[in-house]
Symmetry: C2
Subunit: 229 residues, 2 copies
């Protein structure tokens, strides 16, 4: 039952900053599955060639490679039904899709302008050019011009969280009394940010901040080492 | 097991336009519970006094009055566990909160500017002054000035739907293969709009439009009469 998770890393291999990789790391810890997290960099396409994917996360379990965070999560749920559930049943699988889609399509776009330059700064030398070129093509402007007003962007990011904030006023986790994959999807964004930036994304009295701290407190030992310092 | 649902109505009592009342109507139909929908108007506070609430929806079941759509939905689920579930289990209850919060805090605010004048036009005479005064106080401007650019507002409303659109590309309903309360929360917004406006909120090839039509097809007989024409 050997499990390996390929995770996006910066120049410092302990600086893991892909929100999608974090989802799977949190899911593996939730299920209590031992695994090795293997740092991988944007330009190391060859090291992933065996998997048929050119992006992480890639999970390898008993020699089988699985790519794409949602596919990996579904695999973990199906392969380890005796372990704590990621979704809380069939309706949970269906309902969690909104948490994931909202994170991908609303939360990440609100966050990425605040992090771009920090990510670039922390990357391995070989990755910097790839990162700059691919992101400048996506945004149609130099990295340095994507976020002309960080303060306004931060305020907008905080407003974006309003539906999650309302849920976390009513219950401890998005999944209820205990975190589920819905929590891991949203927390992935905060761990991504934490990996590269010292910016205080949330105000101290924000219910989302209290939840973020609860989630940090629950990290497994391996992850704790990665977010320390 | 007599059930009465007090629902917000326009001058025409068959024009029901509260998104929160629609949620409960759809929930009652989902559970296959017979009920009487009783039209109520903003200024008929006295008619609700017995319930302790001054707003609809109010549900009366076996002489017990329950207000607030989320409280009513929880009541229906607890009181009728033998009927089809609204949430699909405990995790479903917790996860559905995001669908509801997102509808309340993101979808409704994107929609309301497009509907304000239509709502006002359809109200009973006695309600119009109440509606204008309360909404103008909320928006800090005349009703006529809330939506200076309806085309831009419509485009923004459609963009707002992006996470729901992504979910409905992957599955037939927000609840999965069958609708759940998560669907009723979002559909309430579209039935609210349909009650007062002829505006085509969605493009014909939008997956959200295909879902909206599936939801319309599943309406019970009583609701079908209300949305006809």
């Amino acid at each position: 039952m050997a499990i390996t998770l390929y995770e996006l890393a910066a120049a410092d291999p302990d600086r893991r900053f892909s929100p999608f990789c974090w989802r799977i790391r949190l899911a593996l810890e939730h299920k209590g599955l031992a695994f090795e997290g293997r740092p991988w960099r944007f330009t190391e396409k060859d090291a992933l060639a065996f998997s048929g994917s050119d992006k992480v996360p890639v999970l390898v379990e008993d020699g089988r490679a699985i790519a794409e965070s949602s596919v990996i999560a579904a695999h973990l749920e199906a392969a380890h039904p005796d372990r704590p559930s990621l979704f809380g049943g069939g309706a949970g699988v269906a309902l969690t899709r909104l948490h994931v889609a909202w994170t991908d399509q609303v939360l990440h776009p609100a966050l990425v302008p605040l992090l771009l330059l920090d990510i670039h700064r922390h990357l391995a030398e070989a990755d910097r050019r790839y990162f700059r070129e691919s992101r400048e093509a996506r945004f149609g402007k130099p990295l340095e011009a994507v976020c002309p007003d960080p303060e306004a962007q931060l305020a907008s990011f905080r407003r974006t969280l309003s539906p999650v904030r309302a849920v976390l006023r009513a219950q401890a986790f998005l999944g209820g009394e205990r975190p589920l994959y819905a929590d891991f999807a949203v927390m992935g964004a905060f761990l991504w940010a934490r990996g590269v930036s010292a910016l205080a994304l949330l105000e101290a009295d924000d219910p989302v901040e209290a939840w973020r701290r609860r989630m940090l407190d629950r990290l497994g030992e391996g992850s704790r080492a990665l977010v320390a310092g």
